[in-house]
C-alpha cells in the first residue's frame, strides 16, 4: 500500500503537503513527493488534491473469519497442592458461556508433579476436559515459561474464548500472552455474556475505580481473552457424575525460555489478612480510632467471623496496617456482607467495597453518603449498637449450633 502521485497531473499547489500531519509529502521542483518513511497511511492527503493527482488505497478493516476457533478455556491457577478458588468460579462461568455457544469447556492445568489427584474435581465443577502439561519448568509460575506453554496450546487447539483469573499471576501472564499472540485483552471483568446475535463475548468491567462500567468486545482476534476478578463468578455445585477427558500434552521448555530465577518464596502465615477472600468484613472509619473503638470493632468481628478492615484515615492514624485499608488506594473487596461502622462513605472508599453482596451501614450522620449504597441503614452511634449486636450474634450462634 502506498500513495501514488501522478506527476503530469500535479500542479504544484502544495495543498497535499499542508494537509499531511506528518510532513510525508514535500514539494520538490514544484511537484509533490512522497516520503514513505514518514507516511502513516492516515489518508489525510487524498481528499486535499483538487486535480486528482493523488491516489492510494487506505486499508479498511474487516473482522476475520474465526470459524475454526472453538471452545471456552479456563487457565487454572494452582494454590499449594490444590487450586485457587478462582478455578472453580471461572469454570462455572465458562460453562454458561460454552452452553450458549454450543461449545466445550477446557481447564488448562500446568504443574510439575504427575500424580495430581485434583483434576477430576475440575470436571465435576463443569469442565468437559482438562488439558494438562507437566514439566519441571512449570513447577512454579514464571512469566515466560507459562506464556510459552499456553501459547503453544492455543496455537494447537484454537479456542474461541480464554478466561484467566485476575490475580497477581493472571494479570502478569495474560498481557504477556496477549502481546505474543496478538490477542485483544480485557482486564478484570466482573460480568461475561455471549451476545445473542453476533456470538461474541461481552466483557464488562469497572473503570475509574468503579465509577463507570464498560462493556468491551474483541472482534479482531481469537481467542477472546479476559481476566476475571476473583470472587465474582459463582462456582457450580460439585457433580461427581460428570464425565470428561484428561489430556496430557508435552511441551519442550528449554532453560533459555525464561531468564527469571525465583530465589525465595515467602507465603503469609494463616493469620495474615486476606480481605479479598473474606466472606464477611467489618470495617471501621474515623470514630473507631482509639483503644475502645478498636476493641468494640474487633469483638464484633470475632463474634460474626469477619476480617476487620478500615478507611484510609484509620491507617493514617496508625490503628491498622495498610493491608486492611479498603478503597481506591487500598483493596477492592466484595464479601457477602460488608459492615461499614462509622464510615461516611467517600467515593474513594465506596469504590473499594460497593461490589459487596450486602452492605450494612451504621453512622451517626443521617446524610452520610454511605447510606446511598447500603442495603441496611442504621442512623446511630456505633458505640451503642455494636456491643449489643455482638451479644445478639453470640446468642444467635448459641441457639443455632447446639452442642
Amino acid at each position: 500500500m502506498s500513495i501514488l502521485i501522478q506527476q503530469d497531473k500535479c500542479n504544484g499547489c502544495g495543498l497535499c503537503a499542508r494537509s499531511c500531519p506528518y510532513q510525508a509529502l514535500e514539494m520538490l521542483d514544484k511537484k509533490a513527493t512522497w516520503l514513505e518513511d514518514r507516511c502513516t497511511l492516515c489518508g489525510a492527503c487524498l481528499e486535499s488534491c483538487k486535480v486528482g493527482a493523488l491516489s492510494g488505497e487506505i486499508p479498511t478493516r474487516e473482522a476475520p473469519d474465526f470459524k475454526e476457533y472453538r471452545g471456552v478455556w479456563v487457565f487454572v491457577e494452582r494454590q499449594g497442592s490444590g487450586f485457587h478458588r478462582s478455578a472453580f468460579e471461572l469454570i462455572g462461568c465458562a460453562r454458561g458461556l460454552a452452553d450458549s455457544l454450543g461449545e466445550k469447556v477446557s481447564a488448562i492445568v500446568f504443574g510439575a508433579d504427575s500424580d495430581d489427584k485434583g483434576l477430576n474435581e475440575l470436571i465435576s465443577r463443569g469442565a468437559d476436559s482438562c488439558i494438562v502439561v507437566y514439566n519441571r519448568a512449570l513447577a512454579q509460575y514464571r512469566t515466560c515459561s507459562y506464556t510459552h506453554a499456553l501459547s503453544h496450546l492455543i496455537i494447537k487447539y484454537l479456542p474461541s474464548i480464554l478466561l484467566i483469573p485476575a490475580t497477581t499471576i493472571g494479570r502478569d501472564l495474560a498481557p504477556r500472552l496477549a502481546r505474543r499472540l496478538k490477542l485483544g485483552l480485557t482486564a478484570d471483568c466482573t460480568r461475561l455474556a455471549i451476545d445473542p446475535q453476533e456470538h461474541v463475548l461481552l466483557q464488562t468491567r469497572p473503570a475509574f475505580g468503579g465509577n463507570i462500567m464498560a462493556t468491551i468486545v474483541t472482534r479482531y482476534s481469537r481467542p477472546q481473552t479476559a481476566t476475571v476478578r476473583p470472587g465474582v463468578m459463582k462456582p457450580l455445585d460439585l457433580d461427581p457424575t460428570r464425565k470428561g477427558d484428561i489430556i496430557f500434552e508435552e511441551i519442550n521448555l528449554p532453560d533459555s525460555v525464561d531468564v527469571i530465577k525465583i530465589l525465595e518464596c515467602v507465603m503469609n502465615t494463616e493469620s495474615s489478612t486476606n480481605l479479598s477472600q473474606a466472606a464477611i468484613i467489618v470495617a471501621g472509619g474515623r470514630p473507631i480510632c482509639g483503644e475502645q473503638g478498636m476493641s468494640v470493632l474487633k469483638e464484633f468481628a470475632e463474634a460474626i467471623g469477619a476480617e476487620v478492615a478500615c478507611t484510609r484515615v484509620v491507617v493514617e492514624e496508625g490503628f491498622m496496617s495498610t493491608d486492611r485499608q479498603v478503597g481506591q488506594t487500598g483493596q477492592t473487596v466484595r464479601p457477602e456482607i460488608y459492615f461499614a461502622c462509622g464510615i461516611s462513605g467517600a467515593i474513594q472508599h465506596r469504590a473499594g467495597m460497593d461490589g459487596s453482596r450486602y452492605i450494612v451501614a451504621i453512622n451517626k450522620d443521617p446524610d452520610a453518603p454511605i447510606f446511598e449504597v447500603a442495603d441496611l441503614a442504621v442512623v446511630g452511634d456505633i458505640y451503642q449498637i455494636l456491643p449489643v449486636l455482638t451479644r445478639t450474634i453470640k446468642d444467635y450462634k448459641g441457639l443455632s449450633t447446639p452442642c
Binding site: P21, P175, L376, K397
Partner: protein, 265 residues
C-alpha cells in the same frame, strides 16, 4: 546506566465524562494528575540515579496537555522527556498503546531498565507494562514492592496472592511498581522553573516519528472496542432500621439470616 520511566496523565477520577459517540473518555477540561503509582516508578529510578551516573528518560503518551506530567517528571529529577501525541493515537486499547510506546522506546535507543506503575487508576488494567516487555522481548517483574541492583542484575520482591517472591533477572528488564516500593520525593522549586524553559529537553513525537502506521495505533489499531459504557446502578433499596440498639441488632441478624448468610464461621 539508562533508565526509562513510563508515566501517564490521568483525569481526576471524581469527575469523569464519557463521549457518548465513541464510548471513550472525554479528557479535555478535566483536572489531571500524574498516575500515583507512576510517581513511585519515577522515584525508584531517581533513587538509583542518586547513587550512580544513571540517566532517566520519562515517556508518556497522551493529548498535548500531557506535557504537564513530563514537566513534572523533569522537575522531580528526570533528565529528558518524550511525549507521544498524535490524533492517530487516540482511543487506543492496551494492544495499540503498547505498540506505540514500544516503538517509541525502541526508537529512543538502548536502555537498562524500564519502570512503570503497576496500573493507572483510570483503567486499572495493569497490562501496558507486561505488553511492552513482550514487545521488546525483555523479562518483566510486576507488582514490585522492593528492588535492588546487584552486579548487573535486578533482585526484586514481587507480590503474589497471599505472599511474596524474591526474583532475579538480568538486564535489560521491565519493572512495574507498587506504592509500597518507596516514598516519592517532591520537585524542587529550581527544577520546577527549569522544567518549563524553552531549552527544557522535551521531545514531542507523532506516529511518523516512531515509524508506525495509522492503522496500527489508536482506535484503528485496537483489537478490543468499547461497546458501551454505563454508570453502575447504585440502586440498592436501602432499608432503614430504627428503635433501641437491641431492636436494631435483631433486625440486622434477621436481615442476614433471611438471606441465608452464614454468620460466625
Amino acid at each position: 546506566m539508562k533508565l526509562v520511566v513510563l508515566i501517564k496523565q490521568i483525569p481526576n477520577t471524581s469527575n469523569v465524562q464519557i463521549d457518548p459517540k465513541t464510548g471513550n473518555l472525554v479528557r479535555e477540561g478535566v483536572t489531571s494528575i500524574m498516575n500515583p503509582e507512576d510517581r513511585h516508578a519515577l522515584e525508584e529510578a531517581l533513587s538509583i540515579k542518586d547513587h550512580s551516573n544513571a540517566v532517566i528518560d520519562v515517556i508518556s503518551m497522551g493529548p498535548p496537555q500531557a506535557i504537564e506530567v513530563i514537566c513534572e517528571g523533569l522537575s522531580m529529577g528526570a533528565d529528558r522527556g518524550i511525549l507521544l501525541t498524535d490524533r492517530a493515537f487516540a482511543g487506543a486499547d492496551t494492544w495499540a498503546t503498547s505498540t506505540a510506546l514500544g516503538n517509541a522506546i525502541r526508537k529512543n535507543g538502548p536502555f537498562d531498565l524500564i519502570f512503570a506503575g503497576r496500573q493507572a487508576i483510570d483503567g486499572d488494567t495493569a497490562q501496558i507494562g507486561p505488553q511492552i516487555a513482550e514487545f521488546l522481548g525483555i523479562p518483566q517483574i510486576t507488582f514490585v514492592s522492593a528492588l535492588e541492583l546487584y552486579e548487573g542484575k535486578v533482585i526484586a520482591n514481587r507480590t503474589i496472592e497471599n505472599g511474596c517472591e524474591k526474583v532475579e533477572t538480568p538486564l535489560p528488564a521491565l519493572i512495574t511498581c507498587l506504592a509500597s516500593l518507596n516514598e516519592p520525593r517532591y520537585p524542587t522549586v529550581g527544577r520546577i522553573l527549569d522544567s518549563v524553559r524553552e531549552s527544557t529537553p522535551i521531545e514531542i513525537w507523532n506516529a511518523a516519528d516512531i515509524g508506525v502506521k495509522a492503522q496500527d495505533v489508536g482506535l484503528a489499531g485496537s483489537l478490543t472496542q468499547v461497546l458501551k459504557t454505563f454508570t453502575p446502578k447504585g440502586g440498592r433499596e436501602t432499608q432503614y432500621l430504627e428503635g433501641t440498639p437491641s431492636d436494631i441488632a435483631s433486625g440486622i441478624v434477621q436481615f442476614l439470616t433471611d438471606r441465608q448468610v452464614r454468620l460466625g464461621e
